[in-house]
């Protein structure tokens, strides 16, 4: 049972185009997440999935339900606004966690290896935020 029986061509063509574009972009983003070599490069892969892929699929869904029920259906704007508001927050939190972890690991390594060289010269506070 497909709900796509009685859609006119002027609605079916942009919906199909948006769906194919969204699927390709989602696949490209996940491929970037899997294939890129570094974590700081890898965090850019899902960004395109979250913004452009989700935008295409949400727009297609909005268009489909508006034509199917012959009235404007705009529920998907809630999801789009939520995703556009939370995606930078999530990326920033993960990035901050990664940076803090790397700084902590480096500080631990320095404390183990070259302990008498003075850890206050290049401590993570001095290196992380240069406030002069």
């Amino acid at each position: 049972m497909s709900g796509a029986e009685d859609l006119p061509a002027w609605a079916a063509l942009p919906i199909a185009f948006l769906l194919v574009l969204g699927g390709s972009i989602i696949l490209i983003g996940a491929l970037g997440l899997m294939r890129l070599p570094n974590f700081y490069q890898r965090i850019h892969g899902p960004a395109i999935t979250v913004t452009l892929g989700a935008g295409c699929v949400l727009l297609a869904s909005m268009l489909y339900f508006s034509v199917q029920q012959s009235r404007p259906v705009a529920h998907e704007i809630i999801i789009s606004v939520f995703i556009l508001a939370t995606a930078p927050v999530v990326a920033m939190m993960i990035m901050r966690a990664a940076v803090y972890r790397e700084l902590r690991a480096r500080r631990r390594k320095e404390a183990q290896g070259v302990a008498p060289s003075g850890p206050d010269k290049d401590s993570p506070q001095a290196r992380g935020r240069p406030r002069a």
Binding site: S2, A4, E5, A12, I15, A16, L33, T49
Partner: protein, 92 residues
């Protein structure tokens, strides 16, 4: 037109499932914890898009609410995991 729409919805669903498989690969082989959290966040997002695609496929509005709940829970869980990774505790 029905065939075109069915084919494009099938393409979207296949692509999303394939993307979830890629995210699962990164989740399993991820060298550090932040890679795993990033893969889990992308997995939540792909699950939300899969719910939206199934909503278009079956023509019902109930999948929209599934997608919204997945988006909400995914955001909260990713924030909690990232905060735990940064501080070692969630609620200070």
């Amino acid at each position: 037109m029905t065939l075109l729409l069915d084919l494009s919805i099938g393409y979207l669903i296949v692509c999303t499932v394939l993307a979830m498989a890629f995210c699962t690969v990164r989740l399993l082989i991820g060298p550090r914890s932040q890679d795993r959290i990033l893969a889990l966040d992308t997995l939540w997002m792909c699950a939300m898009l899969l719910a939206l695609g199934l909503g278009i496929r079956y023509g019902t509005q109930i999948h929209f609410e599934i997608a919204m709940l997945i988006a909400l829970v995914g955001f909260v869980s990713t924030i909690a995991l990232a905060k735990f990774l940064m501080r070692g505790e969630i609620i200070e």
